[in-house]
Symmetry: C2
Subunit: 324 residues, 2 copies
């Protein structure tokens, strides 16, 4: 028995370590490893120059959780409560009034437009540095209502491994989020190893001015760009300037990003995370008000996209032991 262990230890030492230990060994994992092998093996007909190995990832519901609502919405609600004493008019003005009454459903009744209005009201006027500090302080203290975890610990361990694996194989990894670009930038480097310049997201406009003689960049209460649905390929075009060869998402907001990515010539990879694990995370898809996945489930498989079942394909969810 002991000898067998030593021998298998020796054998393992000569094999490359499993780059995706939290992925069960089923079709999804095999497809990823096969794709990466094809595009990185010199001489392979599918070989891709390292400079063109661009991989894009949605954030909410793809790299971290997004239930019961987008984590940035929790931030915005907390911020509204914090700023409320300076805004007595909010008591009688929707969607702010609902937030102050802790009526989440009412606050979100106005959909994306209401959320955007609240984002602008709470983000605008801050310099980039003030905004960064406000989000950082919030992440350090706020806790998720269901798990009790810090929001920036509710990352998907299998996706962290996938990001690291792709980078080790010469890929440049980007986030392409419907969420706020500067919000995601606050934690993306520490959480995912993705630097701010590789984060793309929705944004409000910014201006440059001197404050007390010091030059600053200030957020303005005006919409700049919505990085969702058809906005995702456009945002990628504007920020990266070339088409990815690998794209991962989890909702129909990622459909066009995967469509554009996988329609390019040569080997391409489209991945959709399917939230089907009510026990360890959340289960939702076609009917969800957050992260709705309907068209992707129907069309993804015949487009050759890999649908990842969180329940079956992932050995664990979060990096910490909380879920197991």
């Amino acid at each position: 028995m002991k000898l067998t262990l030593i021998l298998s230890g020796l054998l393992l030492a000569t094999l490359p370590a499993d780059p995706l230990p939290s992925w069960n060994g089923n079709p999804a994992k095999k497809a990823i490893i096969e794709f990466v092998g094809k595009v990185t093996t010199p001489g392979s007909p599918d070989y891709v120059d390292p400079a063109a190995r661009i991989a894009t990832f949605d954030n909410d519901g793809c790299l971290w959780s997004e239930q019961p609502m987008y984590f940035q919405a929790f931030y915005i609600f907390d911020r509204i409560k914090e700023l409320a004493p300076d805004h007595p008019e909010w008591k009688d003005k929707e969607p702010f009034a609902s937030v102050l009454k802790d009526d989440i459903k009412g606050a979100l009744a106005g959909g994306e437009k209401a959320l955007l209005e609240m984002a602008m009201a709470t983000h605008a006027g801050l310099t980039d540095e003030e905004f960064r500090k406000a989000v950082r302080d919030w992440l350090d203290t706020a806790r998720h209502p269901k798990t009790g975890m810090a929001y920036d610990k509710m990352l998907y361990q299998p996706m962290l491994e996938l990001l690291a694996y792709l980078r080790a194989e010469g890929f440049k990894t980007f986030i392409v989020s419907g969420g706020g670009i500067d919000f995601v930038r606050v934690f993306a480097e520490e959480a995912y190893g993705i630097p701010p310049e590789q984060v793309i997201g929705s944004s409000i406009k910014a201006g440059y001015e001197l404050r007390d003689g010091k030059p600053v960049v200030v957020k303005l209460p005006e919409l700049n760009f919505i990085d969702d649905k058809a906005g995702k390929p456009v945002g990628i075009h504007q920020h990266i300037g070339r088409r990815p060869i690998f794209a991962a998402g989890n909702s129909d907001g990622d459909f066009q990003m995967l469509e554009w990515t996988t329609a390019g010539e040569g080997a391409r990879f489209g991945l959709l995370v399917h939230h089907d694990d009510a026990e360890r995370e959340f289960a939702y898809d076609r009917e969800s008000h957050v992260g709705k996945l309907d068209r992707g489930l129907d069309e993804g498989p015949r487009r050759g996209w890999t649908i990842v079942s969180m329940k079956d394909d992932w050995a664990r969810i979060y990096p910490q032991a909380d879920d197991n």
Copy 2:
């Protein structure tokens, strides 16, 4: 004599190679090397983490020439002539009519607004891939009216060395151009070693659509962003998400980029290329309609910025031997 040569050869072999061989050994070169040493030496009070070593460079007049007018304007004019048969109305419509009569002065009389109008009329409607090919074909055939060189060979050799030197020292180099982001991206990787995702510039909007069933990103005839003056720090904020520690430009359009960069904490470097070499390149500054440098000459030195004299500080201008 021979022995001395051999000995000095041996001595040189033990010293690090000069990273900036086309820079004369005067204050500008010394200041650059001293700055890079400070921010890259572990333990130095000015040490900067590699991830934060962001260096931004203007393009026109900083990395390549910009006289007698921006090279992209030559492209736009050539494109107008090419498209003219499909646009009979241009014969009677300014600024197009002037372009078709080879009246450059008349074509540029409308300033930035007219140039933008012509850019939109000639760029819009193309997919990103069609646009890239059109610019690439033009660069491969068009020649500069004064030098007879291909436009993308009129690069400044000393700046190419500076880019390579900074990258070798762990910097990430970006272009921050008032010119069109996608125009610059066509040649930036080959010319400067700067990949498309590290190019920032002015832009028109883009849309996503299916053409003959194939998903494409298409340029739209609508202004998106002017990356000039106060727009430069804003563009850097949007694309990079952090403040550079090194910025180089050559005109008052770069003033705010240098102001913002050098106002940050810790060691910072601001550099302005001064076009004072009528013999080897062009001489212009305070009165020029292209690349006007006035405020920067006045305020730069007392802000600690390094003013580079092309005449005195650069041993050569272009990579090819044409100028020497």
